[in-house]
């Protein structure tokens, strides 16, 4: 009997620990949002000064005939001294009309637009960028380099708002706010729009406050010449060259700053499959970066904020969120089998905590970018999924769906049905990832195409991103082939 009691107590503690570990991302996210608010006082504006260095813009382009002309035109019309701006389009052996379009622009803007042709391409963005970086570093003209994507559209004042931070010599690189800017918005681009508000306007402000930046946006990285000379070239060994660049910049003692008022519009995937491929590349890149800098995490140092506990928690909370979504249900079900009332209390506590954080995130996030909020407020609400919203209601009002609603509808609910419903609710956060994965797989079928949007609203966009991370993890474990897959861009950005 004593042995049984001891075993039961041990198991209970283990299950409680599992739930406790799964709650770490909630605490970490709450801390991150608090830090984002502190950006009101703790920001880089005190050290920013009007500064217009000679900027070389490097645009990697592979079959970007649809978008490159508009991008160049928008760069030419930036509110920035024209004599201090040169655009280098690195044509990665394009097979469409990209060379013709760029050469036409080169003739139209002599001495300001340059066409650099790689005759052997297809090696990925980092190799293409390195070709351009080598060219601009050869010339002493360049004082700063802006690395961007071919499809993005810079707001007229964005470059000026980025360069002012380089007036502080301690700053090595600056990034901007990438806003989803498709003219023909779909449910998916609206989800991405709100995701970018939270991941950039909130999270990167928090990283400014903590003094450690996780990643410069690939479509908007401004580097000082000194920083670029120090870095030498973009990393080609991982799928996340922008994250490696960000970390290397900071390891060399320079700051990476996020400028929330510099806006860059980007075209994002409209189908789950395309989004999956893009995010799989990002997530695999993040796993590779995590392994590469394993000596860095949770090793606090006065010079390296990247090693701080708070930054480490943020980094791993994003990376290991799917793990939390797997171990929490195991903990709930384990506790339910051993001690149902305790399971109920723990489940309610965690979900109420998560619900409060979710409500705060939505309310705060919707105020950060009104232009996105106007189109994406429904997606902000449905971010965790409609079914999860029902579970939140269940956590707030225990017995509502088990007793009150059936009584109202005059339906008898048996004990077995209650147990099944309880187990479903406890397991839901894991199931949601599985269903999100399934959504990606059925999207290409005729029926799938029709029901995919409804399924994403039901299971949630958040679980979809977590499912991608799980896929990335297993591919990394298997050492699956990793190649650079370009996200298709067709020029939908509303300039």
């Amino acid at each position: 009997m004593d042995i049984l009691d001891t075993a039961k107590t041990t198991a209970t503690v283990i299950f409680l620990l599992m739930v406790g570990l799964a709650a770490v991302p909630i605490v970490s996210n709450a801390f991150q949002l608090l830090c984002a608010t502190l950006h009101a006082w703790r920001n880089h504006y005190d050290l920013a000064r009007p500064y217009a260095p000679r900027v070389a813009v490097i645009v990697p382009a592979w079959n970007e005939g649809n978008v490159i002309a508009t991008s160049i035109e928008r760069l030419m019309s930036l509110d920035y001294p024209p004599e201090n701006l040169r655009v280098y389009v690195v044509d990665d052996a394009s097979t469409d009309d990209t060379p013709d379009v760029v050469q036409a622009k080169e003739r139209l803007y002599p001495g300001r637009v340059f066409h650099l042709r790689r005759h052997v391409g297809g090696e990925g963005k980092a190799h293409t960028l390195n070709h351009g970086i080598a060219v601009v570093l050869e010339d002493s003209w360049m004082q700063a380099t802006l690395i961007m994507d071919a499809d993005v559209i810079y707001a007229r004042d964005s470059l000026r708002k980025m360069t002012r931070h380089l007036a502080d010599e301690n700053v090595g690189s600056v990034t901007a706010y990438i806003r989803e800017g498709s003219a023909d918005k779909t449910y998916l681009t609206r989800f991405i729009g709100i995701e970018y508000v939270l991941a950039q306007l909130a999270a990167r402000r928090a990283q400014n406050v903590l003094g450690a930046m996780a990643c410069l946006a690939g479509g908007a990285q401004l580097h000082s010449r000194e920083n670029l000379e120090d870095l030498g070239r973009m990393d080609t060994s991982t799928l996340a060259e922008d994250t490696v660049t960000t970390i290397e910049t900071q390891l060399r003692g320079r700051r990476a700053v996020f400028e929330p008022h510099a806006v860059v519009l980007a075209e994002e995937p409209q189908a789950v499959d395309a989004l999956w491929k893009q995010r799989l590349r990002w997530a695999r890149g993040n796993f590779q970066v995590t392994a590469r800098y394993r000596h860095l995490w949770f090793h606090p140092s006065r010079h390296r904020q990247l090693g701080s506990v708070s930054f480490g928690l943020q980094w791993f909370s994003v990376l290991l969120l799917p793990l939390a979504m797997i171990i929490a249900p195991i903990g709930f079900v384990g506790l339910f089998l051993l001690d149902p009332p305790l399971a109920h209390t723990v489940f309610r506590s965690m979900w109420i905590g998560a619900a409060c954080l979710y409500a705060y995130t939505v309310a705060f996030g919707l105020q950060l970018d009104p232009s996105i909020s106007r189109t994406s407020w429904r997606e902000a609400i449905a971010f965790p999924g409609v079914i999860s919203l029902f579970i939140i209601v269940t956590a707030f009002f225990p017995g509502l769906f088990e007793t009150e609603v059936p009584e109202l509808l005059d339906v008898q609910v048996g004990e077995e049905s209650r147990t099944t419903a309880t187990l479903f609710i406890y397991l839901w956060i894991s199931l949601s990832m599985l269903l999100a994965w399934l959504t990606k797989d059925i999207e290409h079928t005729r029926v799938g195409r029709r029901i995919t949007p409804a399924l994403i609203y039901l299971v949630g966009y958040g679980p979809l991103l977590c499912a991608v991370t799980v896929d990335a993890f297993f591919r990394e474990i298997r050492h699956a082939e990793a190649h650079w897959e370009k996200t298709e861009k067709i020029g939908r950005v509303l300039g």
Binding site: L33, A36, T37, H39, A40, N43, Y45, D46, A48, R49, P50, A69, T70, E73, R74, S77, D79, L108, R156, D157, R160, K161, R164, R205, P260, H261, C356, A359, Y360, A363, F364, Q367, L368, F396, F397, G399, L400, T403, E404, L494, G495
Partner: protein
């Protein structure tokens, strides 16, 4: 560039013409702009407080409505 100009430029783009540059604007006082952006960051505080108020209201209403 306002919406009408953007629409006109898209039409020009479809016909193969380069977009018309936006009207030249008055020179920007960049010191004032930095100060403006610095001050606009202060908006994060009321935004955060409003979000907290929203959460507290939800919790209180939830408690009141709880069966």
């Amino acid at each position: 560039m306002n919406r009408t100009q953007a629409r006109a430029n898209r039409k020009r783009h479809r016909r193969g013409y380069p977009p018309q540059a936006a009207r030249p604007s008055a020179p920007v006082d960049e010191f004032a702009e930095i100060e403006l952006d610095r001050r606009s960051e202060l908006r994060l505080i009321p935004q955060s407080l409003l979000a907290i108020l929203f959460v507290v209201t939800l919790v209180v209403v939830g408690r009141l409505l709880a069966p």
